[in-house]
């Protein structure tokens, strides 16, 4: 039996355990759970959206091709739609609502002029197969953005096609294979990743048919150069490095790592998830990386959207440019713009998706780059790194920092000593932070630091916000010693508390019970 109403808890905790400031208790999100649309549905409710078609509209369709089953979608009015989703939105924590220090995700402010730009009818209503003559504005934007990202990366060329960071990784690895094969070098079937890498790196290598070889990190958090050298060989196609690493550290031995990679005949892929730390300070292409992807939803401020859509453009050096997926945006001698014709470059790996890119996302990133300019982008990274180092110092007042500073845009702290002293785990610290009104940092990633917290403040937070978060994290540390039960039971102030994830996985309930047709709404 389920309920939408709060119940008295049975763990001996109460609302009195809510942290309180001078403005009263701070809540991370709103309080009221919502029924599903299926539960709201009443036959006949609707809003008039389109005219009714003539009765014989489907006369040309053979009867056996027509839908035989009822279409059990909910029937609700427009006011219900707006209220339902508005109330659901109140259950979300968001950057717009508060500090969101989710490490590795770069949860910065999403400027509203970017949203305004993407919604201009000329951008929003343009069909992806529109002839070039109708698409000169978008084509110019794409062509300029290819150049801007190439400059930022220190690379030769950029494809805007990949739809997400992981999609960019797959693109990059396919480019690397195409390069090796073009040289008749077909024996390279391994991709090396450090143990601190994003899970997408090994998953990408597998998806592209490569074996993953994992190398360990050195005690300073960087890749162990000797381990890398031992792993490299004639079967190595690529080394995938995240730089700065997922520990928030710049790879100090980057020159040696790149040299060793190239000496083995392998290519170097940079996972650019952490570019927000090094804009204008480090250009991967100039330093010797062969290929990298950007995450526009991280570094270039496009909205994360609850998990997507993102965009993952891939920049490459001269070696890999011939293999880029098509179509690229091109500029002709007469100054007009066009999309490359399919098949125009026989060396291309082919398409990665249906059309030229998530252009709505690309428009936002372009607006962001234009807003900041070259010098402004460097300042973005300066401020992001400064904020991270400041917060690191404050968090270090209570938590262990396993690696020496300075960090880049994010840093790792660990609650391992806290667990040993109090039994409180990082998960408990994270959940209790919610009661203090904050989204927790990334936890238990990267995998090589026990009980770790990966904290990334970004450049768009004020000093007051950084201090408020640090104060909360320190308060939780004190609470762990004084009342560990509070942390084990946290969060207390949210519309739902800790969830039964085991049952959800054992008996997946992935949709509301089938309705027996539109006339029969289904209460759950």
């Amino acid at each position: 039996m389920t309920t939408l109403q709060a119940r008295p808890t049975d763990v001996g905790l109460s609302e009195r355990d809510t942290p309180e400031g001078s403005l009263g208790p701070r809540r991370a999100v709103g309080a009221s759970l919502q029924p599903t649309l299926a539960e709201l549905s009443v036959p006949g409710r609707h809003s008039d959206q389109v005219p009714h078609p003539p009765a014989d509209a489907l006369a040309g369709i053979p009867a056996d091709q027509l839908r035989g089953s009822a279409l059990g979608l909910p029937e609700v009015s427009e006011p219900q739609v707006i209220r339902h989703f508005t109330n659901l939105s109140h259950l979300n924590y968001s950057v717009d609502g508060g500090f969101y220090p989710l490490g590795s995700c770069t949860m910065k402010h999403n400027p509203r002029v970017n949203e305004w730009s993407a919604r201009l009818p000329g951008f929003a209503n343009l069909h992806p197969l529109a002839p070039d003559a109708l698409a000169q504005g978008s084509l110019q934007l794409l062509w300029e953005l290819q150049g801007m990202l190439s400059e930022i990366a220190g690379m030769h060329a950029t494809t805007l096609q990949p739809a997400a960071g992981a999609h960019g990784e797959l693109t990059g690895i396919l480019l690397i294979r195409a390069y090796h094969h073009s040289r008749g070098d077909t024996a390279r079937d391994e991709v090396i990743v450090p143990d601190s890498s994003h899970g997408t790196n090994p998953a990408t290598a597998s998806m592209a048919g490569f074996k993953t070889v994992t190398v360990k990190s050195a005690p300073d958090g960087g890749v162990d150069l000797d381990a890398l050298r031992a792993a490299l060989g004639p079967r190595t196609a690529a080394v995938m490095l995240t730089n700065p690493s997922t520990l928030g550290l710049f790879e100090r031995r980057i020159v040696e790592l790149l040299d060793a990679t190239h000496a083995a005949g392998a290519l170097a892929y940079m996972d650019g998830a952490n570019m927000n730390a090094i804009l204008g300070r480090f250009k991967p292409g100039a330093a010797g990386f062969d290929v990298m992807h950007f995450n526009l939803h991280k570094t270039f401020s496009t909205p994360h959207g609850g998990g997507g859509p993102g965009a993952g453009p891939v920049a490459v050096n001269e070696l890999l440019a011939p293999f880029l997926p098509g179509p690229l945006a091109m500029r002709g001698a007469d100054g007009s713009f066009r999309l490359e014709v399919t098949g125009a470059r026989p060396t291309s790996i082919g398409r990665m998706r249906a059309y030229q890119g998530s252009v709505g996302v690309l428009v936002r990133a372009y607006a962001y780059i234009r807003t900041h300019g070259g010098a402004g982008l460097r300042l973005v990274s300066d401020d992001a790194v400064l904020a991270a180092n400041y917060l690191r110092q404050r968090v270090g007042e209570a938590y262990e920092l396993p690696f020496p500073g300075p960090c880049k845009h994010e840093f790792v702290a660990t609650a391992k000593p806290l667990r040993e002293a109090t039994g409180v785990r990082t998960l408990d610290v994270a959940k209790r932070l919610i009661d203090h009104g904050f989204h927790p940092p990334t936890i238990y990633f990267p995998l090589l630091v026990e009980e770790c917290l990966l904290i990334e403040p970004t450049e768009t937070e004020t000093l007051e916000d950084l201090d408020a978060f640090a104060d909360a994290l320190l308060a939780v540390h004190r609470e762990a010693h004084e009342r560990p039960d509070l942390l084990h039971g946290a969060p207390l102030t949210t519309p739902v508390r800790r969830l039964d994830e085991a049952t959800a996985a054992r008996h997946p309930e992935l949709k509301w019970r089938p309705m027996t047709g539109a006339q029969t709404p289904c209460p759950q």
Binding site: P74, L88, R252, A387, L499, L510
Partner: protein, 439 residues
């Protein structure tokens, strides 16, 4: 902050970058304040032309966008949140994904739906890989009348040579040659993992799906239906015809064309295939106090846990696009969606009649819903000339099938509920004038 850190400048924080690879800035123009930026962006947008009477579909369709959709999408609580790793403060995103899964399960007739896919092409490629994982076979058959770009994308995903993708021919009526399918399936030395057909297909023609499913299943292959979601309000659903997987482009469900994305890959599957489904899944559960709640589930398939043994490298939820589809379906409702699909069909029939009246006839004889190919002498030139008349006359199919003489002069045209009689008259009139000049 500098003082607290005991440093004089941020330069000290970048000394860990070896001097030999330290960059000295980015060579891009200075930044622009909002007013200047708005002028620039307005200028670029104005250089696009979106005022033509458009009959271009080919996988992306102009539809009525209920005003509710962008109202909700603009809410920062949805737009500026991330993947719901902390379910206690992410129930808004989690419940909307669950509602999306539920409504797409209704539409497709298949119970397991993932909201993680980038677009119709990427979802098609992932579905092809699913059939390979599920059957342990490595050969996939796909009709040549599936969206060209979906086949090209699948080919790219298959480029490591471990799997093969073979195209099935079509018949003069525009349907896939099922005798050829039967023959290909009969090769017992090369068993087939999956069979892919489009409904409607890339020519707009309705395929004999029921027979194709029977043939595939008889050979132990899985069947993948590549569908258009609005059509499912009136056409037999993939579940009804016995498909194992349905994929498609979710753009028609409340997402603007945007010159290519972001879109929404639809991917739905049978219960049996649940653990082969790539991407995030949201399930219903209870919290410690017995309250209903939603959570990402079956996570052991995913890249951040399984790393190199994951079902896919997908990390995304295409959540904001799935939210658009959810708000769209909630607003339009079951009867409204049927009206959208049937209006497109009615307008397409009017278009066919108007073009036939000026001597322009269909290429194929098979039944269609709201999109079909017509033969126009010198089609590419007519298509270009009509732009000046304010008409976007669909897609010249020679772009997708350059080697097929039957399609050299074919234009693929569509109508939806936004197509007006005036648009149709303009199109037919302009074609008639052009053909008279040419004659």
């Amino acid at each position: 902050m500098l003082g607290a850190l005991g440093i004089e400048s941020v330069e000290a924080l970048f000394e860990d970058i070896p001097a030999s690879v330290r960059a000295t800035g980015i060579d891009l123009p200075p930044g622009e304040p909002e007013l200047v930026l708005q002028r620039r962006m307005s200028g670029l947008a104005a250089r696009n032309r979106v005022d033509l009477a458009s009959f271009l579909g080919a996988g992306v369709y102009h539809h009525h966008l209920p005003t509710t959709v962008d109202t909700i999408l603009s809410r920062g609580e949805f737009a500026s949140a991330y993947t719901p790793y902390q379910p206690e403060i992410s129930q808004g995103t989690l419940q909307t994904i669950y509602e999306y899964q539920s409504m797409l399960a209704e539409l497709t007739g298949l119970p397991v739906v993932s909201a993680s896919h980038y677009d119709g092409a990427a979802a098609t490629a992932e579905a092809a890989l699913m059939t390979i994982r599920a059957t342990g076979r490595d050969r996939v058959l796909a009709s040549r009348a599936i969206h060209r770009h979906y086949l090209e994308t699948t080919q790219t995903y298959f480029s490591d040579g471990r799997h093969s993708l073979e195209e099935l021919p079509t018949l003069p009526d525009g349907t896939t040659d099922l005798d050829a399918l039967e023959a290909a399936l009969a090769d017992l030395h090369r068993p087939v993992a999956g069979v892919l057909l489009g409904q409607p297909n890339a020519f707009g023609v309705l395929e004999p799906m029921a027979r194709a499913v029977t043939l595939a299943h008889a050979a132990g292959a899985l069947f993948v239906a590549v569908v258009e979601p609005v059509s499912l309000a009136v056409l037999a659903s993939p579940g009804e015809i016995g498909a194992d997987i349905a994929v498609g482009e979710g753009q028609p469900l409340g997402i603007a064309p945007q010159y290519g994305g972001p879109y929404l890959g639809i991917l739905a599957a049978t219960q049996e295939l649940t653990r082969q489904v790539p991407g995030r899944l949201v399930g219903r559960t209870l919290d410690v106090d017995g309250r209903r709640a939603f959570v990402m589930t079956l996570r052991a398939r995913e890249q951040d846990i399984r790393r190199d043994r994951a079902a896919s490298n997908i990390c995304t939820n295409q959540a904001l696009c799935a939210l658009a589809a959810t708000v769209y379906l909630a607003t339009i409702g079951p009867h409204g969606l049927r009206d959208v699909a049937a209006s497109g069909a009615a307008n397409a029939r009017r278009l066919e009649s108007a073009l036939a009246a000026v001597g322009v006839r269909r290429v194929h004889s098979g039944a269609y819903l709201n999109e079909f190919a017509v033969r126009v002498p010198d089609a590419a030139a007519v298509h270009a000339a009509l732009l000046d008349e304010g008409v976007l006359a669909g897609l010249p199919l020679v772009r997708w099938y350059p080697d097929d003489p039957a399609l050299t002069d074919a234009l693929l045209v569509c109508a939806t509920e936004v197509t007006t009689d005036a648009d149709i008259e303009r199109f037919a009139g302009a074609v008639a004038t052009r053909m008279a000049v040419a004659a």
